[in-house]
């Protein structure tokens, strides 16, 4: 027992220790980046090494593996520069806090959650620009999340269950608590958006998985309704966006809302749910890194239509971006598709109308993501632009994301939850009410 407790503290402590030790290289961005990457890899290695001694949560171990892996690719996705140092250090801090929420028992997990919300809120308060002005809605959402985390420390059920659901709605974005997600993905400095987009939703799923069996029916029903509205709303908003980071934020909101719909209806979060959340987060993270490549070359918030023709000037980038786009829009054989199909096939549909909305949102993704990719990659090559293909670290980051997404699309489901029965087979006999 003592050994197990030591391991979970070790898992969360390693990245925090890495953050502190990396500060020694503050004056040398290249070394700081290398140190951060090494600590993330060490963190991943420690999780793999101690995975058989961890208590397996209902959503499986996949999120635990994905967190340090995403930290690595997020860190690799940026070239060394003094402006990126804070992002790299904070990546390790967030990784440590995230692992703390997911592995340590209460009340430590609630304290880690409270710290996580608070740090994100502070960063958002300090980091805004002319292009991305301060978002009080976003800040307010994270403050609400912090309040709910604090409530978890003191309240009993059913108030604690409701607080958990609200906290997870902030982390794993659900309308009307999605502003935090949008703000974090657009305003956080450096590489943090590409890490946060996976970190917060996976933590949200973990908190939700704990709370779901005990939440009152009315809360679950309301969450289910908001999820459907959110899936449709996210897709519509993504269609209207010309700013890439907002487009990706709304697109991921749409996909996360689908997960909410299934989870609220079935009152469980299975490894299949974790697969969907993890792969949507990872695919969005990959796209954010890919967008970071464009930003590094042509400036922040550049209009995608102003940098057309990348396919001929940056062929390696074009191939990787195309594959990431395929994964993000839910096409096989990538993990998003496997996660989505896993949910579609593992549980009875809560309603036919909900299924139609979910499928429409899935369909809309191929419109807005493909349009974005087509604008960036194709069209005439512009003589006024200088095309520089991806650097080695950028290439490695994007390639790792693509390969992991591919592996998650093909890997056996039981790999991340060996003790759980995953293949549920349902068949219906007699007359079925299809329109509810």
């Amino acid at each position: 027992m003592k050994e197990g407790a030591l391991i979970v503290w070790l898992l969360s402590g390693l990245p925090l220790l890495g953050a502190v030790s990396s500060l020694l290289f503050w004056s040398n961005p290249a070394r700081l980046q290398l140190s951060s990457v090494i600590w993330s890899v060490v963190s991943l290695g420690s999780i793999v090494a101690f995975s058989n001694q961890l208590v397996i949560p209902s959503e499986g171990l996949l999120p635990l593996y994905l967190l340090p892996l995403t930290a690595v690719v997020s860190l690799l996705g940026q070239p060394p520069h003094v402006d990126h140092r804070l992002g790299w250090i904070m990546t390790l801090v967030f990784l440590g806090l995230g692992l703390g929420v997911m592995t340590t028992p209460p009340p430590s997990s609630s304290v880690a959650l409270l710290l996580l919300f608070s740090v994100v809120a502070v960063l958002l308060y300090h980091h805004h620009s002319v292009l991305w002005s301060i978002s009080w809605w976003g800040l307010g959402t994270y403050t609400l999340g912090a309040f709910c985390a604090a409530l978890l420390l003191v309240a009993e059920a059913p108030l604690a269950s409701v607080a958990s659901v609200v906290a997870s709605a902030v982390l794993l974005p659900l309308m009307p608590f999605h502003d935090g997600h949008l703000t974090a993905l657009t305003r956080l400095p450096g590489n943090l958006p590409s890490f946060i987009v996976l970190l917060l939703p996976t933590i949200g799923l973990h908190v939700l998985a704990t709370a779901l069996p005990t939440v009152p029916d009315v809360v679950a029903w309301t969450a289910s309704l908001f999820a459907l509205v959110g899936a449709f709303y996210g897709a519509l908003k993504a269609l209207a966006q010309t700013r890439v980071r907002l487009l990706l934020a709304y697109g991921s909101l749409s996909f996360f809302s689908m997960l909410w719909w299934f989870a609220a209806a079935t009152r469980t979060a299975t490894p299949r749910s974790a697969l969907l959340v993890g792969t949507v987060g990872l695919a969005t993270s990959g796209l954010l890194i890919a967008w970071q490549v464009v930003r590094t070359r042509y400036g922040d918030d550049v209009d995608p239509q102003a940098v057309s023709g990348l396919a001929s000037g940056m062929p390696r980038y074009a191939v990787l971006l195309s594959l990431l786009a395929l994964a993000a829009m839910g096409l096989p054989p990538f993990g998003v598709f496997a996660g989505f199909m896993g949910l579609l096939l593992s549980a009875p549909f809560p309603s036919s109308g909900g299924l139609i909305i979910t499928l429409l949102a899935w369909l809309a993704a191929s419109w807005y993501i493909m349009q974005m990719v087509q604008r960036l990659l194709f069209g005439l090559r512009r003589p006024e632009l200088r095309y520089t293909d991806v650097l080695r670290t950028e290439f490695a980051a994007l390639l790792i994301v693509v390969l992991v997404l591919l592996a998650l699309g093909l890997a056996p489901n039981s790999l991340f939850a060996p003790d759980q029965t995953l293949s549920a087979t349902h068949s219906v006999t007699g007359s079925v009410v299809w329109s509810r």
């Binding site: 697969l275 009875p348 990659l377 194709f378 759980q420 068949s427």
Partner: protein, 571 residues
Amino acid sequence: MGVTLVLLVPLFLLAAAAVVLVGPDRTRHARAKMAAYPVGIACLGAVGTLYQVASSGSIEIRFYNLSSVASFAIPIGFYVDRLSAIMMTLITCVSVIIYNYSVGYLYQDRHARRYLAMICLTDFVLICMVSSSNLMMLFLFWQVLSYLLYVLAHNHTHAGTLAGAFKTFTLLRVADTAFLAGIALAHQLYGTLEFQELFVRAAQTPIALSVGPGMEISGATAITLLFFVGAMGKSAQFPIHLWLPGSLFAPTPVHALLHAGIINAGGFLINRLAPLFGLSSTTLHVAFVVGTMTAILGASMMLAQNDIKKTLGFSTIGQMGYMIMECGLGAFSLAVFHLIAHGLFKATVFLNCGNVIHKARQEPHFPHVEHQADEEGLSRLSRLTWLTGFVTTLFIPLLILLVTHGVLHIPLLESQGTVIFFFFIWITSSQAILTLTRLRQVPSWKVSAAMLTTLLFIVFVYLGAAEAFTAFLFPNPDEVASYFKTAGLPNWMFDLIILLATVITIAGWSYLYLVAHGRTVRMPVWIERLRIRLYLPFMNRLYADEMYQVLGNSIMRLVHQLDKREHGWSR
């Protein structure tokens, strides 16, 4: 042996793609030529598989275990029966021709490597799709095919091509979404996506779904309707046909592959799921209506096009409509027969269309403008030619109909499928024979002999080859009969179809006779006006592109309005 063959066919195609892609640039032409060998071996493997399946039965390979929780997220497995083996043979044979043609056609093209590799990869995906052992794997390759179509119909720098490729992708995704809904519903109702199990459970467990107050449809109908929409996309059925003309900027070999292989995916899906479709009269009737409409509209639009590729494109749409119509009549095997014949024919035509254009440009008499001489030529139609044509297209078929019905007392109304195919024979042979009347520089007896031969050939093909093919594909005649029975049309509709077919054929001959004898055919003014008025919409493809554009713009306008109204909250 069979298992090895089944695995080798896709692997050799994948190897061909790798040979083209991997290697230094200076050896790319040599590698392109070298890759023709694995493509050829894959074709031989497919022929061997067909032989093996025909002699020893279906081959099944599963890389997953349904009862194990350790199964892959996407179950990969192969199920090769006679249908799959035939499709594999067709695809690989066409691929050999197209690939070898492409090596020369794309020689020194900047994107040759990409196109050649994509052609091999598309063949690989097609082979895996037609040999899938379950719906999930079929859907996986179905989706990949949608994306490959987008990539193949692509030219980075040409705006028209980009727009066409985007339209192709989005329209196919609409149909794919219906397909996905069908898969989810099938799993929900019957708890399996394995073909054989699904067919058995669907047949044994009738399920009624309530779709509204007092409205019920069977589970099989709901599922097959969704699958049918999925098939409509790939088979370019009206109104989801627009992607096909939109992708006409692609290189010629890509078109040949598209029109000979990829477009058959819809027909294959319906045939693969024939036992499921055979449980739903409603879906088959919907397929019949959609197919008929597509056949008529596709053929009409084809006649009004002034571009050889668009003409061929709309011809394909018409033929696919015809094929779906056959499925709607319960003649699944005939539909497969049709798509094989069409695939081989259309690939040849597409590969040759460039030569025709080239030759036509060198020939001063083309395009010839001596229409007047053509019209005059009709008056030289000899009595023998006309009489033979009349006897073969009107007298013989009616005689057969009367004899079977009156003398042999065969209840034709109870075997509608047979009668409808009898009329198909009639219309097809009439059309072919009417075309022969245009031969005016040869003696009448030769034209008459050609007419008789044509009739015999068509009758032989329909009744002989198609029947033999049906027996090969569906060894159990009861199964074929049950499909025909399910597809039975209401009597009034059946009578109407027969009547229309008769009127059209007789009217065609009457018109020909009157024109041939120099008589003026007086048409009512409104018919003349209608003919002129219809020409423009058909030439402009019924303005369907513009309507889609308006629809897309309206949706986007609405989306932007909603976005503006909500601007303060989410930013």
